[in-house]
Each structure stands twice: as structure tokens, then as C-alpha cells.
Point group: C2
Chain length 283, copies 2
Amino acid sequence: MTVISLVSSTKCFGGLQKVYSHQSKELACEMKFAIFLPPAADDRKLPVLYWLSGLTCNETNFIQKAGAQRYAAENNLIIVCPDTSPRNVEIPGQDDSWDFGSGAGFYVDATQEPWSKHYRMFSYVTQELIEVVNNNFPTVADKISISGHSMGGHGALICALKNPGLYKSVSAFAPISNPTKCPWGEKALGGYLGADNKDEWKNWDASELVASYNGPPLELYLDQGSEDGFLKDGQLLPQNLVDACRAAQVPCVLNMREGYDHSYFYVASFIGEHIAYHARHLQ
Amino acid sequence: MTVISLVSSTKCFGGLQKVYSHQSKELACEMKFAIFLPPAADDRKLPVLYWLSGLTCNETNFIQKAGAQRYAAENNLIIVCPDTSPRNVEIPGQDDSWDFGSGAGFYVDATQEPWSKHYRMFSYVTQELIEVVNNNFPTVADKISISGHSMGGHGALICALKNPGLYKSVSAFAPISNPTKCPWGEKALGGYLGADNKDEWKNWDASELVASYNGPPLELYLDQGSEDGFLKDGQLLPQNLVDACRAAQVPCVLNMREGYDHSYFYVASFIGEHIAYHARHLQ
């Protein structure tokens, strides 16, 4: 069983906001994750909401800036936040860009050297991390949901679409909805999967994956600020995902938030609604 | 009239979280402050809660980590957060310590060279900043309250005690309650006011000032985590302030929070109660 080491434990809204480190087999490096245990976790097993953060983030951004602990305490949910890429590995060029390599794992399993040994965030998030959490904390093992922001919003969508039935619900804040068709996605998928393997890219793009989704009913619950600069720059393309869902007859809700941008001020404003949404599916 | 320049404006909980810069006459430098305008500020003038941050902070820590905007929106309060010291000045040694100089103005008016020209945070916060805010935003000019954390918690207390009637209410999270008797306070007061001027130090220590308070009824509303490492290290000394209030017959409430530490996870957990407290006094 994986040994986890406590990095910090801080009381928050009656529960405990903790950070742990552990040696990841999937990523072949030491990783950290944050976990919020609401007060009810003292008495019984609880469902878990996984949160995937965006470009440049690590396991701390969400727990410091989103204000989610209040809602997790009210709704009796555990929240787990992994880091966004392998850390403490030695790969040439990993720190050269803010949107590729460190802090930008894109939640895919890389196939290309030198990334393929460590950059396996999809398998880490959907398998190893869930096992680690279920083995060490008072969870209801089959009641999990997933959400995230930007790169992590898309990560949440592909985790759910590629693992039918694993998650009871999925939501995404300002996801990079169609990465095969935007600069961030082309850079990441080209780097991790190979610039010439564009057919393989489609296996990691939510707007492509919805067409072949064949599992239990799953609604995509999307959230987007209208004044998001990255929306205007064509990095997010939520309408492509909405259109793909309509074509595939996959239920999809897009909450457009008038005047909001891409920041955690936006996430904080609506995380309460998302946590309530997931809590309803995890009852 | 002071010209203010917009640094950023971000929608948050239906309102706007803004940051401005301006040339401060009192501090003789350019300063920044954050201001949250709740949705109701579109329609009418509102009361203002001033928030003073702690050691090492600037105008952004509170607005990113406390989650106060939700409560300010619910209670129709404007919140203003100044920086914690003069910035962009050239004073030898200002950046040598994390607990003195830059980020550690202690909300006093310095009398000693080289600090006395710029380090006038008390006059800045209690006079100039209030004028700037009232001249530029939809405020009810005579309805203001003040709160803060750690160094800023004590700052809030001395601002209120030294300006009877100016603030409708005051509260403090984990304040440095008796700075003349703790290492942080001795270093700051010694540096800004002179190591030998210990009588003058008392004019900037809440636990001393309560004895001579002679103004409208004022309750000190204090908050303290029981697992705060700085409490255990003797930097905060809240009981000294409680005892001084009792002797002076100044009303004082100390909310002890079992298991909480000194972090923003703690502040976030209780800022809602404090904002509701101030809102009642500002009606």
C-alpha cells in the first residue's frame, strides 16, 4: 500500500485542509495532493469530489483561492486536489514554457520521449490517486465526481468521458473544450503525443470523445465567464463542445456568466453551485 | 483631489474586485489598495469596512484568500484593503527583515530616521485613505468600520482606540495585542519610534490605550485560534488585552476558536461572522 506523508494540516470551516506527499508509481516521482476532510468525515464515510487545476497551478491554488471548503463542509463532501504535472523529475525543457511541461500535464498519458516516462497524469488521476485516497481516508469508494478549471476543466471532462460510470457527475469551469483546435492544445498534444499523430490527439479531446461516449447517462455541466480573455483568444471554444454534445445527444448545460473572467475570483463566485450540483449526484 | 489609477477590475460574487494605485501624500510614495464594490454599490451609497493585513502581506492577500466578497455582497458592504507598508521607496535596510520595514509598517507613524518620512501608515489609513475612498466611490462617509489580521488586527484596534467615534465597530483576528511586550512589537516600535522611547511606545499599544479610551461606547471584538503557533510563542498575548479591557471597563469579546491556527484558512472560516458583526453596526 502506498505510504503517504503529511505535509500540512490546517483547520478550516470545522474540517481539516491537509496536504500529503507520496511516491507515485504511475508518474515515477514524488507528488503532492491536497485533501479537505469536512467535519462529517470524523463520523462516517463520505463521497469525494476530485478537482483538477489549470495551467501553472499546483495542489495549493484551489484550496487557497476558491473558498470551496465552506461548501464542502455544508455538503459533506471530501475534496481532493492533485498537482497538475509530475514534479522533481529531470526532463530537458520541462521548465521552458508556462503552458507545457511543469505545471501543464494536460491530464493525458504521454507517448513521446522524453515525456512518456513521467507524464501520465490521466492514469494517475483516474486510477492511482483514487486508490491512494480510498486506502487512506474515510471515503465511499464508488461515489466520486470530478471538476476542474481551464486545462483542469478539460481534464475533468476527458476523465469522465473515457471512464464511463466511474464518476457520478462532471463539471468544468472555463474548460479548454476542444484542444485539438486551439494553440494551447496543439502545443500540449503535439508535445506529449507527437506532432504527426493527430488521430491520437482525438482520443484526448472532449469535443471528439463525446461522439463515441457509450456509458451510463452523463451530463456535461459547463461554466464559462463571458469576459474571459482566453475565450476571446480562441483557446476555450466551449461552443464546439456544446455542438458536439448536441450532435451526439449527450446532455450538456453551459452556464454563461456575464462579465466574469478566467480568474479564481470567477471560480470562487460559482464553486458553491458546482459543489451543490455534485452533492446531488453523490447522494 | 487625489488621482487614482485602475490596476485591475474583476467581477466577483456579482460585484467588482478592483485594485487601484495612487500617489500618497502621507507616505510620499505610490501605493496600491484593493476595493470590493458589491452589486448594491451600483444603486446607492454603502458603508465601508477597512481591512488591515498582517506581516509580509500586501493589498492582494486578503482579497484572494479570505473569501470575503461573498459576505460583503450579502451584507451590502464595501471592503477596502490597503497595502501594509510604504512601497517603492529607497530606505537602507527596508528589505532586510520579514517582520520590519517593507510589508511590516505596523500601522504607526514613525518618528525615527530613516523611517519617519515614509512610514506613516497610521495617518495614511485613518485619514488620507478614507478621503481617497470617499472622494472616488459611492460610500456613506460616516459609516465605516475596521478589522484586520495579526499585525493588521492590532492596527485596526489602535486606529479605533486613537480615533474615538471614527469607526462604528472594530474587530481583530489574532491581533498582536500587546506589542510593547512581545518580540515583534519591540522590534517594530523600537525601530520606528526609537529604542529608548518606551513611553511613546505605549501610545501605539492597544493594551495600553484602552486605559485612556474616552469616546463613544466601543466594543473590542477579538478572534483567536487556539492552535496558533504565534499565540504559543508569546507574540499575540490576547489575554493581556482582555485583562486591560476589564480593568478599563471597555467591553471586549474574545472568540476562542478551538483547533485553528494563524493562517488565512482560519480567517476564511470566520470572516463571515465578522462581516455580519460589522454590518449590524453599520446599519
